[in-house]
């Protein structure tokens, strides 16, 4: 299988920003994760390797270095709960507990129905609006267990 034509055209534009093609690799990994099922599959690693003229293992070496890339499939919704210091001082632990209860997923795990993955993450740069989580790429800040329940309950 090869990369979808749409992504190839996008990447052809993307790499023009840089004097060396390889600089497009991390942005391209992001786009693949967004468009191709929410994770970087072995197939994607191979396809990106051939696009960038690299060995699949080199692409793997990059993808596995960065916490934002998932090398395993995730649930339909990904809740990334910050567990760093400023959030912890304002109730990140209680938030984590509550998120797990509402979603049925454990930290670093996916709920049995495949709907939610809960992922503890380090500081997200929202420390003055703690605690927070990122739900499918959107920040939710100044959270309380009640607010979290409202946001996530709607997706149940």
């Amino acid at each position: 299988m090869a990369l979808p034509e749409k992504l190839v055209r996008e990447f052809d534009e993307l790499v023009k920003k840089y004097p060396e093609k390889r600089a497009g690799l991390i942005p391209a990994l992001h786009r693949c994760q967004e468009e191709l099922g929410g994770w970087i599959s072995p197939q994607t690693l191979e396809d990106l390797a051939s696009y960038f003229g690299l060995e699949p293992v080199e692409v793997y070496g990059v993808a596995s270095f960065y916490p934002m890339f998932r090398l395993k499939p995730a649930g339909k919704h990904v809740v990334s709960v910050c567990h760093n210091i400023s959030c912890e001082l304002r109730g990140a632990t209680q938030l984590m507990e509550h998120v797990c209860k509402v979603t049925g997923a454990k930290p670093y795990g996916t709920s049995a129905d495949g709907k939610f993955t809960v992922w503890p993450v380090e500081c997200q740069g929202a420390c003055a609006n703690a605690p927070m989580f990122d739900l499918d790429g959107v920040y939710h800040e100044d959270l309380t267990p009640e607010k979290a329940e409202k946001i996530l309950g709607g997706l149940r």
Partner: protein
């Protein structure tokens, strides 16, 4: 606190401040016009000179004088290689959340600053490296670049002059180490964010081996103001060695956490009590970080210190990113350090053994102290481990960043840590959920 002049956050308070129309209404791109097409256009050397006169120091954490950094770029006649500006928008230091405000609400300010900085250093392009999680920042700055390009402000022959310059957005993917300037460059090149040994320094061997300057978002954001109002104006504000206003993100146990613009010279107490509404719930401050988790903790009784580069040294700490984190008197230091040590363990890139092994041990030992499984000599072990990790023993300063808060915790709160070990539990209660880390 006396009244003071502001500029960094003024525009962010106006509706639609992220659009070119509003930015222009508020005087946007006047600095660029002054430099390129004003009655007396400025030479690159003149711009650098204003930056030097301004005495501004980098806002990314290390506080390096910006004007001086710009002079490190080689003479373009002797060294005609392509050259770049890399803008550090990785913002991952725990507690730090200021650059995001500028990028989301005033992205044209950053673009204008980038253009002037590139002009001064004769760089042909700026790459803005934004942490991947900051999606709105990315969208807003990209939209600003697109608008500016359509208006002839980015790209070829800017404002009809022979100055051409590109500004590109680049997305990171969630690694703190990519905020370290050489890790950032490796990452931008599409590799793992492994910091490079220095020398060679970025000005000689940076992005793709070419001369490069790395600056923080807030540093670059100040450039148009300095160009318009003059370096001397900027140098007239602040304290000796710390000039201008800075963005102070304050988080943790205060009534009104937030990102505030303040002049150098205010005390930490003024910030906590007058700006951030005081320690929450009427409690007292037990300890605080002046600028992110990588600097030394300071005791609550030392809040009267001025928040600037030199004054904090008298308390054994440093300004860092000016991201204050406040702990109330019911906070467990073992718990705080458990989290901080876990963070550095998670983020160490693993190239240097002191850092790779040291951060792992610190994390494990603080975890066992905090959970009541501490061993008799654990506090002493932590201290000797941290001393073996810093200063300057590794390729980059992440190892120091892990060691410094650790040593401060041992220095200030040794008895409390020893008490956790002795009682086989943390005497200060707090909720926990146990889960093993995923690296």
């Amino acid at each position: 606190m006396n009244k003071f002049e502001t500029w960094l956050l003024d525009r962010t308070k106006v509706a639609n401040s992220h659009t070119l129309a509003v930015y222009k209404q508020l005087g946007g791109y006047h600095a660029l016009a002054k430099v390129l097409t004003g009655a007396k256009p400025m030479t690159p050397a003149e711009v650098i000179n204003e930056m030097k006169l301004s005495e501004i120091r980098g806002r990314g954490g290390a506080g390096f004088p910006t004007g001086m950094k710009w002079t490190f770029m080689p003479d373009p006649v002797k060294d005609p290689r392509p050259r770049y500006l890399a803008i550090n928008a990785d913002e991952s230091e725990p507690g730090t959340c200021k650059d995001r405000v500028l990028m989301e609400k005033d992205p044209h300010g950053l673009v204008e600053g980038a253009l002037i900085a590139c002009y001064a250093m004769r760089a042909q392009a700026a790459y803005i490296y934004v942490r991947g999680e900051y999606r709105l920042s990315y969208q807003r700055v990209q939209a600003a670049i697109d608008e500016a390009r359509a208006a002839g402000l980015v790209g070829k022959n800017i404002l009809g002059t022979d100055f051409s310059c590109e500004v590109h957005m680049h997305k990171g993917a969630g690694a703190y180490i990519c905020g370290e300037e050489t890790g950032l460059m490796e990452s931008l090149e599409g590799k793992r964010g492994h910091p490079r040994p220095k020398p060679p320094f970025p000005a000689a061997f940076g992005l793709w081996g070419q001369p490069t300057t790395v600056n923080n978002v807030e540093t670059i954001f100040n450039v148009p103001f300095i160009v318009l109002r003059g370096g001397a104006w900027h140098a007239s504000i602040g304290t000796k060695g710390s000039k201008g206003n800075f963005l102070c993100g304050i988080s943790g146990h205060v009534e009104k956490p937030g990102v505030y613009e303040l002049p150098f010279g205010v005390t930490a107490r003024e910030i906590v009590e007058q700006v951030a509404g005081g320690v929450w719930k009427g409690r007292k401050c037990k300890a605080w970080f002046p600028g992110g988790s990588s600097c030394a903790m300071v005791k609550g009784e030392d809040l009267d210190v001025v928040l600037d580069h030199d004054s904090l040294k008298t308390k054994g700490s440093s300004l860092g990113t000016a991201a204050m984190i406040i702990f109330d008197d019911q906070t467990s230091i073992a718990r705080v350090m458990e989290i901080i040590a876990r963070f550095y363990d998670h983020e160490s890139c693993g190239q240097c053994s002191q850092c790779r092994e040291g951060t792992q041990w610190l994390s494990q030992i603080f975890h066992r102290i905090a959970t009541g499984h501490g061993q008799e000599d654990d506090v002493a072990t932590i201290e000797s481990l941290a001393k073996g990790m810093a200063p300057g023993k590794t390729i980059c300063a992440l190892s120091d960043a892990a060691a410094i808060p650790t040593l401060s915790a041992v220095r200030l709160f040794k008895d409390e840590l020893l008490e956790c070990v002795r009682q086989k539990r943390d005497p200060i209660p707090y909720p926990r959920v146990e889960y093993a880390g995923a690296h």
